[in-house]
């Protein structure tokens, strides 16, 4: 078991700065999800960790050793590709055996035809086949050892890719959007299975995804990446409830967090369209942004926000009410509990001040606290 330490990695493709000095540490045995929209550089970062691509600057350490100069083959990591990258001409068993064959057999033993007669080759090959079969069985592929990838369903191919990764107990797992080619139901199931494997094997895992729900449900810690930078690394709960940056708050959470243009008065009070919000925030006075999760907003006849109803969106377990701020015109969404009557026309909204998030004009989080008896 080994941790991964990424230090100040930069990468540029032509004029495009893909990575702007990214640092991230994954502790031994930890599962870290790297989440961000497509094109944010997360896959590039993973390929650099794997050794498929070279960074322009910065260091990669695996297990306390600088592997920056090593080839992918010598880094002893396993990678699950988005397309699975199974060898189409090899059977399931042979696919899973490839990493073992490459590591345990000598070049002579790997020779076509002749290699089989090299001393020790027979025993080594038998051991490899047994290990591969063992890995396949642990993922429920025991009955499919002799099939080719083209004869498998998407979910089965995905498991073969996983089996090929776990078969040699690598120092770290790298997974590049491994679930994005599966249908929704299978994705949820496989999500659980990967977490299960991680728990069982306990291997250090770096998991790249654009799907925040994958990141939040699977990972010990989530790293949010945008435009070639990691903005925050934290536990899923804190990433959601305690985002350090407005972009993180906006990216994480579905439906999206409500953002309202706000102002910070000299005394620290937060106002929206001149109305005090019952909050005090730290930092310089001036422009700010007030962000509220839809589930933290509620109907409140005495609430500080006057809004105009727009339309309802029925989600099953709840209903989303879309409204607009009466003065600013900014959209605000809130979750109505099932069965709640939907208001019409103009009405008022309130929120729990301890859950409100305030961000400065630079997008950084400002500490905020509720003002006692600040209700207007």
């Amino acid at each position: 078991m080994a941790g991964i330490v990424i230090g100040g990695v930069q990468k540029r493709f032509g004029d495009f700065q893909a990575l702007r000095g990214v640092s991230l540490a994954v502790a031994p045995g930890e599962f870290v999800a790297l989440v961000g929209p497509s094109g944010c550089g997360k896959t590039t970062l993973m390929r650099i960790v794997a050794g498929i691509e070279r960074q322009d600057a910065g260091t990669i350490g695996i297990g306390g050793r600088d592997v920056g100069g090593l080839r992918a083959a010598d880094r002893d990591v396993a990678m699950v590709f988005q397309s699975y990258a199974l060898y189409p001409h090899l059977t399931v068993a042979e696919n899973i055996a490839v990493p073992l064959t490459m590591r345990r057999l000598s070049a002579w033993q790997r020779l076509p035809l002749l290699g089989r007669f090299w001393p020790g080759a027979r025993a080594a090959r038998a051991a490899i086949a047994a290990d591969a079969a063992q890995a396949a069985r642990s993922l429920g592929l025991g009955a499919m050892l002799d099939r080719r990838p083209a004869q498998l369903s998407g979910g089965q191919r995905q498991r073969v890719a996983l089996a090929r990764a776990i078969v040699r107990s690598p120092r770290a797992f790298l997974m590049d959007e491994p679930l994005s080619n599966l249908d929704a139901a299978l994705r949820v199931q496989t999500r659980r299975e990967i977490v299960e494997i991680h728990r069982r094997v306990g291997a250090t895992t770096l998991y790249v995804t654009h799907d925040q729900s994958e990141a939040l449900t699977m990972a010990d810690r989530v790293a949010v990446m945008l435009a070639g930078e990691i903005l925050q690394v934290d536990s899923p709960a804190r990433i959601y409830a305690d985002p350090a940056d407005l972009r993180v708050a906006s990216f994480i959470g579905s439906p999206r967090i409500n953002t309202l243009a706000a102002a910070l008065r000299q005394d620290g009070a937060v106002t929206v369209a001149g109305t005090p919000m019952g909050l005090r925030a730290s930092g310089e006075a001036g422009e700010a942004t007030l962000a509220l999760r839809p589930e933290d907003v509620r109907l409140d006849a005495h609430g500080p926000l006057a809004v105009q109803a727009e339309h309802l969106e029925f989600l099953g377990e709840s209903t989303l009410l879309h409204a607009r701020h009466a003065v600013l015109g900014t959209p605000i969404a809130l979750r109505l509990p099932p069965g709640a009557a939907a208001p019409e026309g103009t009405f008022r909204l309130g929120f729990a001040p301890q859950r409100a998030l305030v961000f400065g004009p630079d997008g950084r989080r400002r500490a905020a606290q509720a003002l006692e008896a600040a209700h207007v």
Partner: protein, 303 residues
């Protein structure tokens, strides 16, 4: 179903579509019957007759032409020469093209330039290039022997000695075929997903040879099979260089199937006999295609 069909074809019923389909195919069908099917069948029938151009009548002689072929020294030589030619040109031009393709694909620099250079013979008039080769290989004034003379070697009379003529023709054939094969291999190489090479790297593959064995060669299988078939078929069809440079000589040392067919048919006007040679040629081509589709295809497609 019927409702959507009605929506999809507002102007035409099924009858109108059928009519349109038939009309659109009519010109091609007529041309096909008249210019391809009919003459081909006629050629097959001709092979069983003693027809000679200008002869007043023709007689059905069954397998007579084929019996004559079996005893015909000239035909036997032509068949043997063709097979020798194919068995030199095909392996060398295929292996050479594959090696070149791997080299060219290995890095971005010079890719377009080299591809163009090696492809040039494919678009060059073969008759003209054969003439150029004749000059290059000329025993006394040709640059090739002039270079050999610098090293104190007396070069042979490449195209006029029965020992070297087939080899020389095969060399020209390789020169012509390699660019075509190269382009096909390059197309096949770009079709291999890059992730597969990367997966191999992560799986512990370090040497170029191992990467070739694990990924490139198996995934290039369909391309290679196609290149093998088409190269052999094109080589069986060798005609231009023989017609220009040697006319089958000296002493029949470069007689090949199509050239024999040509001389029998259009110089001696023994059309029946010539048609029989054509059928042998057709049988070889068909056998090669059969080999591709029935036998080898299953080995290179991993579905």
């Amino acid at each position: 179903m019927s409702e959507t069909m009605a929506l999809a074809r507002p102007r035409l019923g099924a009858g109108g579509e059928a009519l349109a389909g038939l009309m659109l195919c009519l010109p091609a069908t007529l041309a096909y019957l008249l210019l391809l099917l009919l003459p081909t069948l006629a050629a097959v029938l001709l092979a069983f007759t003693d027809y000679e151009l200008g002869a007043p009548a023709l007689a059905w002689i069954g397998l007579g032409n084929f019996e004559e072929l079996l005893g015909d020294q000239g035909f036997r030589i032509a068949l043997r020469n063709t097979l020798v030619y194919v068995s030199i040109v095909a392996p060398v031009s295929i292996a050479g093209a594959l090696a070149l393709a791997l080299l060219i694909e290995a890095a971005a620099r010079g890719r377009a330039l080299f591809r163009a250079v090696f492809f040039l013979p494919v678009v060059s008039l073969p008759v003209a290039m054969a003439t150029a080769w004749q000059y290059l290989l000329h025993p006394t004034i040709g640059p090739v022997n002039a270079v050999l003379a610098q090293f104190g070697v007396a070069g042979p009379a490449w195209l006029t000695s029965s020992d070297t003529v087939l080899l020389s023709l095969a060399f020209i054939g390789i020169w012509e075929a390699i660019g075509f094969n190269l382009v096909l291999f390059l197309a096949g190489l770009t079709a291999i997903p890059r992730e597969l090479h990367q997966a191999a790297e992560v799986d512990g593959v370090t040497s170029a040879w191992e990467r070739f064995r694990l990924v490139t060669w198996p995934l290039l299988g369909p391309t290679t099979l196609f290149v093998v078939t088409i190269t052999m078929i094109r080589a069986v069809r060798v005609f231009d260089s023989v017609a220009v440079l040697t006319q089958g000589g000296p002493n029949r040392a470069s007689e090949v199937l199509l050239y024999t067919m040509y001389t029998e048919g259009f110089t001696f006007f023994r059309l029946g006999y010539s048609a029989a040679i054509t059928l042998v040629f057709l049988a070889i081509v068909l056998a090669l295609m059969l080999l591709q589709t029935k036998v080898l295809d299953k080995r290179v497609h991993y579905g």
